[in-house]
């Protein structure tokens, strides 16, 4: 593999943009949430301050090697998805390293961070972490089913598993988006997105009032900082995945920002309206409506 300094530079720049946009979007969402609750809410720069604060904590504890590696896996998971995902479709600069693998790679790389985080939290030895993880894994198994159906439907529709190609196929106007050409896949995918982005009603993993905050119960200071950075990146990247799949991708950063914002907003919006599901409710829910939509989407293109 030839080393390409220019590509690396663009990728790192993209990562920086995504990180900051993620933090900002986080602030926006919390702000929106506050306004819904008739509060003023946090200042827009609060996520950065929290991040600085967490990186500046002076003392730390560790439960062992895997505890240490957990956040690293987690951030690698987030960054990895970013690396293998085309961000801006026009030109070659923002395609990152998506030429190394297709949609399947992205789908499976999601597990990298999850697994590592779960292991790290597991070594923390806190029972709440384990409960949170068991819930998270349980929920995740069924979230992925409609999403996969949607992706298979798109793969049949566009005859490719390459994300970049799927985006390119949607260019040429609003009506070319998968949202219109494949509405059922979009519906299934966007319902799955609710679970992937982890807001209410599917935030049982963290369930702050029940199992403090689940997996990261023992994580603090820099560990937490790393997790926060990952959260910011991951939210944008997940939104970008859905954007690429269903909403025509992005041809420039403005479009990117608007679309990811709206996709992320969708999950926040639902979260504002619906209360939290219990685990067996959320597990079965994904196997009902979204699954049926996904099946219809596949049948349409079979």
């Amino acid at each position: 593999m030839d080393f390409d300094i220019k590509r690396l530079g663009f990728t790192l720049l993209g990562l920086l943009i995504v990180l900051n946009w993620g933090l900002l979007m986080n602030a926006f969402m919390r702000k929106i949430g506050a306004r819904v609750a008739r509060r003023i809410g946090i200042p827009w720069h609060q996520p950065w301050i929290d991040l600085f604060k967490n990186y500046s904590i002076r003392s730390q504890i560790t439960h062992g090697l895997m505890f240490y590696l957990g956040p690293i896996f987690r951030l690698s998971g987030g960054v990895g998805i970013f690396l293998f995902m085309p961000m801006i479709i026009t030109g070659d600069h923002w395609l990152n390293y998506s030429f190394q693998g297709d949609l399947v790679l992205i789908m499976y790389f999601q597990f990298f961070g999850m697994l590592g985080m779960a292991l790290g939290a597991g070594e923390g030895g806190h029972p709440y972490s384990a409960i949170g993880i068991s819930r998270g894994l349980s929920q995740f198994t069924t979230i992925e089913v409609p999403l996969t159906l949607a992706i298979i439907s798109l793969a049949i529709q566009y005859d490719t598993l390459s994300l970049a190609d799927i985006v390119r196929a949607q260019q040429g106007g609003f009506m070319h988006w998968s949202m219109w050409t494949n509405p059922f896949a979009t519906a299934a995918g966007m319902l799955a997105a609710l679970g992937t982005l982890g807001h209410s009603p599917f935030n049982l993993v963290m369930a702050p009032n029940e199992i403090p905050i689940g997996p990261p119960t023992e994580y603090h200071s820099t560990f937490l900082g790393v997790l926060q950075s990952n959260g910011a990146i991951l939210h944008v990247v997940e939104a970008a995945l859905f954007m690429n799949l269903f909403f025509g991708g992005a041809t420039n950063w403005i479009e990117f920002i608007v679309k990811t914002f709206l996709i992320y907003f969708w999950s926040v919006f639902v979260g504002m309206v619906f209360p939290r599901f219990r685990i067996e409710q959320s597990v079965t829910w994904f196997l009902k409506v979204p699954l049926v939509l996904g099946v219809i989407a596949v049948v349409m293109f079979m």
């Binding site: 990186y55 090697l65 590696l69 951030l75 409960i131 068991s134």
Partner: protein, 1039 residues
């Protein structure tokens, strides 16, 4: 050459002379034994005589007249063989009974001699009335022998025996005289020339004769009297009744068939009914002698059916009948003799055999001989029988023979399991009497020897090398040596065999190279772990090597017989491996039952193939044009019992979970691949047939459901090894699914999965096994926090689960990527979704596995546990290196695989550009991904190390816990019922419906067995009514 008449004369002479010896019992015994030895010598002389030259049979005319005016005896090859068998058995039987004969005195010896004499004449005579006379002599003598050991049981049963045989021989006599009346002769040859069946009364006469002989063979249900004799008489007598008397009656039947050829068809039915029903009744029997009685009757039924099939079997008849007969002859007598040595009334007490391990080996040989495992003679007999019957399109017969044999397998293996596994500490010590041991041992050796002889007679077995088996025998002989010597030798043996075969296969046959590599290299690696064990580990190496030899034979087989030979050998070896586990008794039994069932399905499939193509080559499968779906289904079911597809998976979890630590990887990572290989062979041969596509479609669904149910069930396990076992079921489900796609990518996925599954499942099972050895429990919730004590094990499991789950960058992802492309390519979306879903469910159990064992809270009693044994770590890390290489350079594996698969499915191959693989749909650069992720991961690692370098290391209870400190590790380790919510939501998927189905089946069969055997109510008169009823019913069936 001594005239065979002297067999009669010296026996009679000595019998009379005994009367003059007074009370000199020892002398009498010596005389009897030497007489018997003399009889052996005479018949042996004739046997050799006839064997070496194709001379005409010798006719002996008593009184100097030729028949029909006088009685004549005949001595041909058949007679010589049978008298030899009878006399040898009589000689050894007398030795066996030395003690008893001396106790009861010379009268009993006299009777014994007369008994053997009667049998001899029955074999040799060509005269019907003479036959009657000597069969009466034989029965009366036997009636005397029954009370060799007079007790409350044997006396009434002797009485029942006398009445029943009296009645039966009256029929014989009646038939004889009427036959004489209609034909004017008593000579069998002349009667058969007279074609009495065309004369109205004559037909009835010969019918009576034949039916009397059949009744002597104790057919179901007119056999209550015989069962009582088996149960109550001294086992030494039981051996004679079952082994010799039964054999003689069979020969008589064979001899008389020309007299009444019309009986053949009915004989087949009667024999098979007896075979199936007696074996069924054996199911609920616990008394060893009576059980042997049922088994005897079953075998005699099969043999009499075989005699009836003489026309169907043609040239092969003699071979088939002889091999099955000899197996029965040796095995049944041997088992009765063993029973005499043990002398217990419950088959559960046979665990006593383990006090003298050689007896256990003999027991195993006899049992395996009855079922028909290689290299014992009945294996070849049954094989040829099925082949020939199939060639004659007698599928009903094939089915009932296989069903009967299967049922026989159930109780015989249950019994063997009891002997191998049950606790024997409470049972009394016993002394192994040399006079009792010697005959039994001789029988065991003769059995194996005849097996070897029979194998030389078989067509389609020429490609088989016997060196591995000889090597295994050698390993068995040095069983007393310490473990490291045997282990080293075994590894050397496997390594040598790899060196012999692998390089050649690499250039000639990639498919076989890969599977041979998995079997042999896998074998070597798992054997390395054996160094961790201490002591002698008796019996482990021979059986492990038998399994590997079987696997190697499967790969090298070019004919179906060789394949089946290897298949059965592998089954036998793995059965013994599995049953070595502490609580494995029932799991090993169910493994064996599924294996036998599967093997019979394979046998039937091969039989049908042979019927059409008249060829035993495996390649002939592809030439099949009729009944292709049936053959495919039969063979697929057979292979799927090994891959443990849904419905046939019941045996797997228990068998794998309870097996020893280094056996689990052998049976999981390696053995299951035999089924995959079989399926591959099958699909390669038959894949082109359009009828297969539909079946493959359903197989695909089956694979998908197997994957889902297996993984789902694994998620709810609390036992680490059981969890891995269910995971194996699921992984084999993926492979089945991928194979069933019958496309380039599908097979590439399947092959890639097979290799990967071998690697990571071996790692996981070895590691977990090693951990279990250290912590002494399988239950995950009893472990926890072991990462600090066992870093090596943790890393191994971590790599194993990442590879299994398919998370990039490790090798598992390649499988997932291929899988997606294959699914979309094949348009199997919904099955694909199920498999995909199950793949994610895998995360549940994988996390549970690693978390519950290595993370969370360390338990008090495990605080001082050390890391896994180095001997386990070595193979584990070698396998890890394998995974790493495949992960970093997937093209090294996938390119040759793709090339290999292109010979069957040229379309849809991957395009390679350096490390970048491109399919119709997607692309993947395994190498690049590995590097990218590696760099990224390292960067972030360094970043966090810089930030958190001064973190304070804390201990296990330094966790935030609602302002309190946790109290006990047990109550702080969240592991038991970890996925309770998930279980609530989706647990219904793994409701044990299939297990319930099989349980219901087995309950039903057992209650049928129990209900049916109630006909034997112990009343002698009732038994007579059965005899009469049998007679009447068969009469109306025939005429």
């Amino acid at each position: 050459m001594v005239n065979p008449i002297h067999i009669v004369s010296i026996a009679l002479g000595v019998a009379f002379a005994l009367g003059f010896l007074g009370k000199r019992d020892k002398l009498s015994l010596g005389l009897v034994l030497s007489t018997l030895a003399g009889m052996v010598a005479i018949s042996a002389g004739w046997f050799i005589h006839f064997l070496n030259s194709s001379v005409e049979p010798l006719q002996i005319f008593t009184g100097g007249f030729k028949p029909p005016f006088a009685i004549n005896l005949q001595m041909g090859l058949a007679e010589a063989t049978f008298t030899l068998l009878i006399n040898v058995a009589g000689f050894l039987g007398a030795i066996y009974l030395t003690k008893e004969l001396l106790k009861t005195g010379k009268n009993m010896m006299l009777i014994f001699l007369v008994f053997i004499l009667g049998l001899n004449v029955m074999v040799m005579t060509r005269d019907l009335f003479n036959l009657f006379v000597f069969s009466e002599i034989q029965s009366i003598a036997l009636a005397g022998l029954i009370i060799l050991d007079p007790n409350r049981k044997s006396i009434p049963s002797g009485f029942k025996y006398v009445i029943a045989t009296g009645l039966i021989s009256s029929f014989l006599l009646l038939g004889t005289v009427f036959a004489y009346y209609f034909s004017g002769t008593l000579n069998i040859d002349f009667i058969s020339q007279a074609s009495l069946q065309y004369v109205k009364g004559g037909a009835v006469a010969v019918f009576m004769v034949i039916l009397a002989v059949i009744l002597e063979l104790k057919p179901f249900p007119a056999n209550g009297w015989a069962l009582d004799v088996y149960e109550s008489a001294h086992p030494g007598i039981g051996a004679l009744v079952s082994g010799i008397a039964g054999t003689t009656s069979l020969f008589v039947l064979y001899k008389l068939i020309p007299v009444a050829p019309f009986i053949s068809d009915i004989l087949i039915t009667l024999g098979l009914v007896s075979f199936v029903a007696s074996n069924l009744l054996g199911l609920s029997q616990t008394n060893p002698n009576r059980l042997l009685g049922y088994s005897s009757i079953g075998q005699l039924g099969l043999l009499s059916a075989t005699i009836g099939m003489q026309q169907l079997l043609g040239d092969k008849f003699i071979f088939i009948a002889l091999t099955i007969l000899i197996s029965h002859f040796f095995a049944k007598a041997g088992l009765f003799w063993l029973s005499g040595i043990i002398n217990r009334d419950d088959i559960k007490d046979w665990a006593m055999l383990r006090k003298k391990p050689i007896l256990l080996v003999l027991f195993g040989v006899f049992i395996f001989s009855l079922i028909g495992f290689p290299p014992l003679p009945s294996f070849f007999g049954k094989w040829s029988l099925i082949m020939e019957l199939s060639a004659g399109n007698q599928y009903m017969l094939v089915t009932s023979i296989l069903i009967g044999s299967f049922i026989e397998g159930i109780y015989l293996f249950r019994w063997l399991g009891y002997a191998i596994k049950l606790d024997f500490s409470d049972l009394p010590e016993f002394k192994l009497n040399i006079s009792k041991f010697l005959p039994t041992l001789t029988w065991g050796i003769l059995l194996i020897a005849t097996g070897v002889v029979a194998s030389a007679e078989m067509e389609g077995l020429s490609g088989l090398s016997y060196w591995p088996l000889i090597f295994i025998a050698f390993i068995y002989l040095i069983d007393e040596l310490p473990i490291y010597i045997k282990n080293t030798l075994s590894i050397a043996g496997l390594a040598f065999y790899s060196w012999l075969t692998l390089p050649e296969l690499y250039y000639t046959d990639m498919l076989r190279f890969i599977f041979m590599g998995i079997f042999l290299i896998g074998g070597i690696l798992t054997l390395i772990a054996g160094y961790a064990y201490k002591g002698k580990r008796r019996g482990f190496y021979p059986v492990a090597l038998i399994m590997y030899a079987g696997l190697a034979y499967i790969i090298q087989a070019s004919t179906t017989l060789e394949f089946f030979f290897g298949w059965e050998l592998m089954t036998a070896g793995s059965y013994f491996l599995i049953i070595r586990g502490k609580k494995s008794i029932n799991h090993a039994l169910s493994y064996m039952l599924f294996s036998i069932g599967g093997a019979y399905a394979i046998l039937a499939g091969f039989g049908i193939t042979f019927a059409e193509t008249q060829s035993m080559l495996i390649a002939s499968l592809s030439q099949l044009s009729n009944m292709v779906p049936l053959v495919f289904i039969l063979l697929a079911i057979g292979f799927m019992t090994k891959t443990a597809s849904l419905g046939l998976h019941i045996w797997l979890p228990g068998a794998h979970a309870e097996a020893e630590s280094d056996v689990s990887p052998m049976v999981s990572a390696i053995l299951l691949k035999a089924g995959v290989f079989g399926l591959l062979l099958l699909m390669i041969a038959m894949g082109n047939n359009p009828q297969i596509a539909t079946i493959a479609y359903y197989l695909g669904w089956l694979g998908a459901l197997t994957a889902l149910v297996g993984n789902m069930a694994a998620a709810f396990q609390e036992d680490a090894k059981r969890l891995l076992a269910y995971s194996s079921i699921a992984q084999l489900g993926y492979i089945l699914f991928a194979l069933a796609m019958m496309s380039h990518l599908g097979w590439l996925t399947a092959m890639y999965y097979s290799i990967n599954h071998f690697l990571y499942k071996a790692i996981l099972f070895l590691t977990i096994g090693a951990v279990v050895l250290k912590v002494g429990t399988h239950s995950m919730y009893k472990m926890g926090g072991l990462i600090k004590n066992m870093p090596l094990a943790f890393i191994a499991v971590l790599i194993g689960i990442i590879a299994l789950s398919g998370v990039p960058p490790l090798s598992g992802f390649g499988g997932k990527w291929l899988f997606y492309n294959a699914v979309i390519d094949k348009h199997w979306y919904f099955q694909g979704i199920i498999v995909f879903f199950s793949g994610i469910v895998a995360f549940l159990y994988l996390y549970k596995l690693i978390y519950s064992i290595f993370l969370g809270q360390l338990k008090d009693n495990l605080r001082h546990v050390t890391d896994i044994s180095l001997w386990f770590a070595i193979p584990i890390y070698i396998l890890i290196i394998g995974i790493m290489i495949i992960s970093a350079k997937p093209e090294w594996l996938l390119q040759p695989l793709g090339k290999m698969i292109s010979q069957w499915y040229p379309n849809g191959a991957l395009a390679w550009n350096g490390g970048l693989a491109t399919s119709t749909y997607g692309y993947w650069n395994g190498n690049g991904v590995m590097i990218t992720i590696g760099i990224m991961f390292t960067t972030i690692l360094i970043w966090l190390i810089v930030l958190s370098r001064k973190a304070q290391k804390v201990k296990q209870f330094n966790i935030v816990y609602a302002a309190e400190a946790p109290q006990r590790p047990e109550t702080t380790h969240q592991s038991y019922n970890m996925y309770a919510g998930y279980n609530k939501a989706l647990g219904w998927i793994v409701a044990p419906k299939i297990t319930e189905f099989w349980n219901m089946m087995s309950d039903w069969i057992l209650s049928l067995a129990h209900f049916t055997r109630l006909i034997y109510n112990g009343n002698g008169q009732r038994y007579l009514i059965y005899i009469l009823g049998y007679f009447v019913i068969i009469y109306f069936l025939v005429f």
